[in-house]
Each structure stands twice: as C-alpha cells, then as structure tokens.
Amino acid sequence: MKRSVVFFLVLLLVVFSAVGFGKVKIQFWHAMGGWRIELLNSMAQEFMKLHPDIEVEVQYTGSYRDTLNKLIAAVQAGEAPHVVQIYDIGTQVMIDGGIAVPMQDLIDSDPTFDIGVFMPQVLNYYRVNGKLYSMPFNSSNPILYYNKTLFKEAGLDPNDPPQTFEEVIEMGRKLVKRDAQGNIVQAGITWPFHSWFFEQFMANQNAPLVDNNNGRTGRPTKAIFNSPEGLKIFKFWNTLTKEGIIINTKKEDWTGARQLFLSQKVAMLISSTSDVKLMEDGAKENGFELGTAFLPRPADAESGGVVIGGGSLWIIGGHPKKEIDAAWEFVKWMALPDQQITWHQNTGYFPVRKDAVSKLLFSGYYAEHPHHLTALLQLLLSKQTYSTNGAIIGAFPEIREIIETAVEKMIAGEMTPEEALAWAEKESTKAIQEYNELYE
C-alpha cells in the first residue's frame, strides 16, 4: 500500500516535469513603457493560448538605450533573451555584434511566410546589404500637428497648414502672442529637442547624412551633412529661436513638447506619428480642433521623404534550436495583420504590412481617424532613395548627441549656424572613424 503511494507520487512527478519541460520557454524584452506594457502582455497571453507548448516571458526592460545595455550585459553573461526589441539606430551595432539570427535566414527556411506583404518603405530601412536582420515591429515618422482653433484666432486659414520652412516662420510670427512685458504667452511651434528631426528634415530634402550612400552600400567613413540642405535646417531652427517663434524643450523631452501643444501654449507641434491617438484624445479633452500635415521642407528643396523610426524585433542566437523555432513562431505571430492592427490602433505606430492597411481602409477606420491617414500617406508618398531609407551608422547614438549639442551651441549664440554645422560634421566623422577602427 505504502509502496504504491510512493510509486504513484513518483509517477506524478515524472509526468508533471515532462509536461513542464515539454513547454518551450522564451524571453521577450521590449522598451515600450506606459500603457503599452499591459498591451504587449495581453498580446503574449493570446499567443500562448494559441501555442500551449510555448511560454513567453514578457519583460519591459526600460528605454531603448537601457534595453540595448541590458542585452549587451546579458549576452556577455551568457543569458541572452530570445526576442528583443532594438531601436532603429541600433541596427548596425547589432549586426556588428554578430549575436543575432538574421531574420532573413528564418524567412528563407519557412515557406509559410511571405515577406512580400510588408511595406517596402519599412523593409528598405531594416534591410542592410540586401538582407533583413530583424522583423519590423513599431514604426513611426514625424508629422506636423496643428491647432486649428488657434489658427482661426490668428486669422489664418485652418485648412491651409504650412508646408515649407518659410511658411512655418511666416505663420509662426502671426501665432506668437506676447504680454505687456514682452514675455511670450503663446508660441508658434515646438518639437522635442532631438536630432531625429534634423535627420528627418534632411531626408525630406533627399539629402544624406553620411557617405557610401548613407551607409547603405558600405560602412560609412565620414559625415557629409554639412551641406546646403543641412545649413537650411540649422538656419531655420536658429531663426525660429531668435524670433521667439519656437519653444525649445529640454533634450529629448517628448512629453514636454506634447504638453506645450496640448495646453495650447504653442500652435504647432512636430512629433512622432506614434502620438496620433494621444493627440486626438488630448485635443478633445482640451477643447480645440486638431489638424495634421506633412513634415515641412524648404520651399526650394528637392522633394524627398521621411525615414522610418521606431524599433524592430531581433532573435538572439546561441539558444537551442527548439527555442529559436519558438521565438520565430512568436515574432511571426506578432507580425500578423490582426496583431499589427491592434498595435496600430492602441499606439499610433503604423501597421508594417500592406494587408493590415487594406483591412483598416476597407473597414472605414481611416475615414473616422483622418490623422492616422496623414501619417500613413506621408510614408507612402515618400520617395524611396538612400537618403529616405535612413542612414546606417554604428556610431549613430553618438552622432545624435553631437548634432543636438551643435544646435544648442548655435541657439545659445556661441556659434553661427555655419560653424555649428561644420563642428557637428567634424565631430561626427571622428565618431564614425573611431567606431570603424574597431572593425578594421
């Protein structure tokens, strides 16, 4: 009797552990804070319901920067996650690190997956040397948000938003309001103080940031943004600041810029399309009419387009094949139209697949949410060139900091626009060369 109980217990243990071990466990690290943590958790839950043999541990690992650092530490400790979300500008570092399983290899060996349904604009960014290393996931670009109510007050046509730098300045002047002491109570425009906007203004004039076709046909060796196009942007930024049309936020202060616009302290905002939902809700709450438009460019500039920003999903190697397969299954599922639509509607990042777009279009979603359409159209109408596909630079994070510092030096009056731009280019080239020395 006693013996049979023991035997039964042992059997139970074996069965349970077999079930437990039969489950493939994978980790998914992401950098999407706020309400999106819950969203991703529930999406993973749904995935697990459909794949009972796979367990996904979802972990929010802080900002993009923190996530990359944690990945580096984890890789060195031999405890890398299976799937990780890395920002756009980390692409080259990830490729050079040689730790990822290129998405292309997984796609090629899986006949059920058709990469052709993805939008070329998105693929063009993440494809390096003809190879797709990661799965596009959250993609955005910058658009101009404007306050139609304030436009009307200033005697401007609310249905004629500025399309050029010159118009931004001209309309901005009319939108600025000062009090008796000359202090600004309402400004014309703002955007988060971030190099991303410089990069986008460059692409919008079809101008590259670095040589070797923006790093697309070979490792870049020097920065080349000290060009007439670059100077136009610096001068534009400088004029806006000198005339008090723009409120410059703190470095990389996305929330600050949003708040200025929502509290109607500024009439225009250039920010990511991932804010569309937030802006729609915010405008309603604060009682003003929202308008959206494409990113402005200098009147005499060559037409270009916007660059995809955001992040993509990477599968990290060094795991047993069973786990890599499970990770691929998960990444594939996240890229399906239904998941893309959920993600799009809840965040404003646009769907990266054509079939998701058509599904949304036919359901009448874009008729109800015209601002989402602005974002999408701007991307679709972008000319596809090396400049608008975005630069691939290993030292990109550092170059961003250099450009931001250069703009700060210019608006503080320490440098002229010409000097600041030349300084930024020189420092960026130094950063690029230092990075390249590591891989010679």
Partner: protein, 289 residues
C-alpha cells in the same frame, strides 16, 4: 599559532567581498582603459595611452572637467554654509521647532531622480510655479533648464536642496553636543553672536565640517548623475555635463567602453589627489575635542 591565523581567517569573507566587488572591477577598468572594445565585446584592441590622449585633446571632455570643478565647488560650499546656518536656527528653542526640522529633512528621504523630476516641474518655463511667481511679481520669464547659465544654476540649486538635510542633521547633532557652559561663559564675557560663531561654534564643529565636505564632494562628483539626467541631460551645449555624466554617456549611451574606462581612471585619480591633499592639509586645522 592558531591565534595568529584566526584573525586572518575571519577577515577572509570581508576581503572576498571587497576583492570581488571593488578591487577586481577596478583592476578590470584600469586594464580596459588601455583598450578599445566593440559594443558586444567580441573584439578588443590594445591601444596604449590613446584613450587618454583622445580625452585630453577633446575640448568637450576638458570642458566637463571645468563644469565639474565649478559645480562641486559651488554646490558644496553653498550646502555647507547654508546647512550650518539652518542648523543653528533649528537649534533654537522656539515653538514648533520639531515641525520645522521635519520639513527641512524631507528632501533627504526623496530619491535624487524624484528630486530631479520635482524641480523640472517647478522650473518648467511655461507651467512651472517658479516662473509663475516670477512673471506675476517681476514680469520675468526665465528658461531655467534650456538656457545658459540658468541650467547650471538650476542643477546647483537642486543639488543643494537635496544634499542639505544630510548636513543639517550632522550639524544639529554637533551643535547639541557643544557644552552649554562654553556658550554661557562667552555670553558673560560679552562676546557678540558673530564672535561666538567664529571662535566657539565653528572650531568645535570643524570635525563635522571636515567629514561633511568630503562626503559632499563625493556625492556631487559621483552621485549627482540622476539629477542631471532628469533635469537637463547635460545640456544646453554641455554646460551641465559633468565628468560622471559624460562617463555615463560614453559607457551606456555610446558603448565606448575603452574611452569610458579611461574616464573612470581619470576620475579615480582626481578623487585620490583631492582626498590625499584634503587629509594632509585640512585635517591639521580640524579641532578635535
């Protein structure tokens, strides 16, 4: 024999912990400062003194040294002086003094990052209370966190605010340990308040001041990272980028491990020199009871 071994045996755990978490990383970063390493560590190249030469030829880095020195000097001296004055006020026998003490100590319980967020809100040019007050009373509008030199002042201000309670606690304890007879006899001898402070209180508190100054220097050199990161991110135009913030950027934002290690060695050397000189020169003047 066993008596001689026993102490060493007992020290082993301590040395193990120190060795593992302090000496080994320190040696490692010294070694790293002569190398350049790829972000994922799959390649490491020996570069000799190149990292150090690069640092001192780099105007943005030498600028951080200037920023650090002025930031440390300014915030430490303001904190120490203000804390002493506040401690003397709080040492008075006035009604509600406990309440005041509690209020003054409050910032100490707040984490530096939260302190940074708090001051960012207060100093926000558009919706912040500080500017609201300034515009209403003086018609002034200052871009506290985004223009020179106000961003630097704001950082110093927030640091002082955050660091002061620690100093006040120590000074209060010190003041309460000054014998009443000393102060009473000085009053009988007709010493003015200033003379009492100058010749009795300050000398008797000098061991505390000595300790606080070095602690504050360490805090501002190393721990003030959070306030800067939250309030200004080193801007505008690197005017609030201290050495430790630059180190953070190079190590964790740009993955330039070798350069960052060289920066940590420079910081280590500066700190060693400061500490040695401080102990050699200043400690002689400290008046221990």
């Amino acid at each position: 024999m066993s008596r001689k071994i026993a102490p060493y045996l007992l020290l082993i755990p301590t040395f193990l912990v120190i060795g593992l978490f302090i000496y080994w990383p320190a040696v490692y970063s010294f070694n790293l400062s002569f190398h350049r390493r790829t972000p994922f560590g799959n390649r490491m190249i020996f570069v000799g003194w190149k990292n150090f030469i690069r640092l001192f030829e780099w105007s943005e880095y030498t600028n951080t040294v200037v920023v650090t020195v002025s930031y440390v000097a300014l915030s430490v001296s303001i904190t120490v002086i203000l804390s002493l004055l506040l401690a003397m006020l709080l040492n008075q026998k006035i009604p509600g003094v406990r309440l005041y003490r509690t209020f003054i100590f409050a910032p100490y319980a707040i984490s530096p990052a939260i302190a940074g967020v708090l001051w960012s809100f207060l100093l926000n040019p558009v919706v912040g209370h500080v500017n609201y007050f300034l515009t209403k009373t003086f018609g002034l509008q200052v871009e506290w966190l985004t223009t020179k030199p106000y961003a630097f002042y704001s950082i110093v201000f927030a640091t002082v605010w955050k660091m002061m309670p620690f100093d006040v606690i120590f000074y209060l304890a010190g003041l309460q340990s000054i014998p009443d007879e000393l102060l009473e006899s000085s009053i009988i001898d007709g010493a003015s308040l200033w003379k009492r402070i100058r010749h009795i209180i300050v000398p008797l508190l000098s061991p505390i001041t000595f300790y606080l100054v070095i602690m504050n220097i360490i805090t501002t050199m190393f721990a003030a990272f959070a306030i800067i990161d939250v309030m200004t991110k080193g801007g505008p135009a690197n005017s609030t980028t201290t050495m430790i913030y630059r180190l953070y950027l190079d190590a964790f934002a740009f993955q330039k491990t070798g350069i960052a290690a060289a920066e940590s060695v420079v910081l280590f050397l500066i700190m060693s020199v400061v500490t040695i000189f401080y102990f050699l020169l200043v400690e002689k003047r400290v008046h221990y009871q």
